[in-house]
């Protein structure tokens, strides 16, 4: 118990991301994956999951975040196989399974996207405290959304939150710590 607490404190001191203590169970979800199959968080138990929310028409934050994650994934080398990036859309109206698949593959073919009905995706966002707001009208609207990435442990615990703007090395650092 004492060892576990010490480990947790050391962990908290060392991670580059914002750390929750104690970590809570990451809310599970069931949506359509970009591979066409059902996508749940729990199916990746045993892997560290990097979970983000965004959309394929996002002009700046999402492409930057995904490029950073792709770079981090490459830098992790063999350890990358124990990590799963999941990107859930905040724009289910436009982000079809095919569109998500094509978009994410441009960054890293192992990245998994998730979409569903507007109500389904809103429920997932609410369970994580994520905000998303449609800005503008017509087919060219934007979605203002939270830009943080959630780091979920192999045991499915929501351990940390990486703010936008961190470098690939910070992800490599934190993911390596969570894997260990």
């Amino acid at each position: 118990m004492l060892l576990s607490m010490t480990a947790q404190a050391t962990d908290a001191d060392a991670l580059k991301a914002g750390v929750f203590n104690p970590p809570r169970e990451a809310p599970d979800f069931s949506v359509r994956g970009s591979d066409g199959a059902v996508l749940t968080l729990s199916q990746y138990r045993g892997k560290v999951v990097v979970l983000g929310f965004g959309y394929t028409s996002c002009p700046n934050v999402c492409p930057v975040t995904l490029a950073v994650l792709a770079q981090a994934h490459r830098k992790l080398g063999a350890l990358g196989a124990q990590v799963q990036v999941i990107y859930l859309t905040v724009d289910p109206e436009r982000d079809s399974v095919e569109r998500l698949k094509q978009y994410l593959a441009a960054f890293d073919p192992t990245f998994m996207g998730g979409t569903g009905t507007a109500a389904q995706m809103a429920a997932v966002r609410a369970s994580y405290g994520v905000t998303a707001e449609k800005v503008g009208t017509g087919s060219d609207y934007a979605v203002a959304h939270s830009s943080y990435m959630y780091l979920i442990t192999r045991e499915g615990k929501l351990r940390a939150l990486m703010p936008f703007g961190h470098k690939p090395d910070d992800y490599v650092h934190d993911i390596s710590m969570l894997l260990n």
Partner: protein, 149 residues
């Protein structure tokens, strides 16, 4: 008359000299004394009953709307939710009893949604590390104005 005048001028000169010396000493101290804190963490607690008081119509301000941090010396925000209900901080939920520790590495102004605030917003201003005499002087001067404001 002349003696009295000279005495007054002399006293005035001494007073001005002392005042200038004290001011220069203060500036030198502010510029050359390193800025230190006992901990790099800035702690805030959301007290039990915050949500209930707000729901009852009370204006509850328990956290400052602007929090100032400084890289290298006090650059970690530590929030503790002691309330009975989850609180939203930034893009996530903090469960009752949960602590969220957020380190900063880039000087900037960060906006967070925060249900512990009546305004629903919290700004964290992260300043550069005051690692040169000029930066220390600016940092201390700014701090005085922030406290007064």
């Amino acid at each position: 008359m002349n003696i009295v005048f000279h005495k007054r001028v002399g006293f005035g000169l001494v007073a001005v000299t002392v005042a200038v010396a004290v001011a220069l000493g203060a500036v030198a101290w502010a510029a050359f004394t390193p800025v230190t804190f006992a901990s790099r963490e800035e702690n805030f607690e959301i007290p039990k009953g915050t949500w209930a008081r707000r729901m009852a119509g009370n204006k509850v301000e328990i956290l400052p709307t602007r929090v100032f941090l400084t890289l290298g010396i006090r650059d970690v925000l530590l929030l503790k939710n002691l309330d009975d209900v989850p609180q939203i901080f930034g893009p996530t939920l903090m469960m009752p009893g949960q602590t969220f520790r957020l380190p900063f590495e880039v000087a900037s102004s960060y906006q967070f949604a925060c249900t512990a605030h009546a305004s629903g917003q919290m700004t964290v201003v992260v300043d550069e590390q005051p690692d040169t005499p000029w930066r220390r002087l600016v940092w201390r001067t700014r701090r005085i104005f922030r406290v007064v404001a």
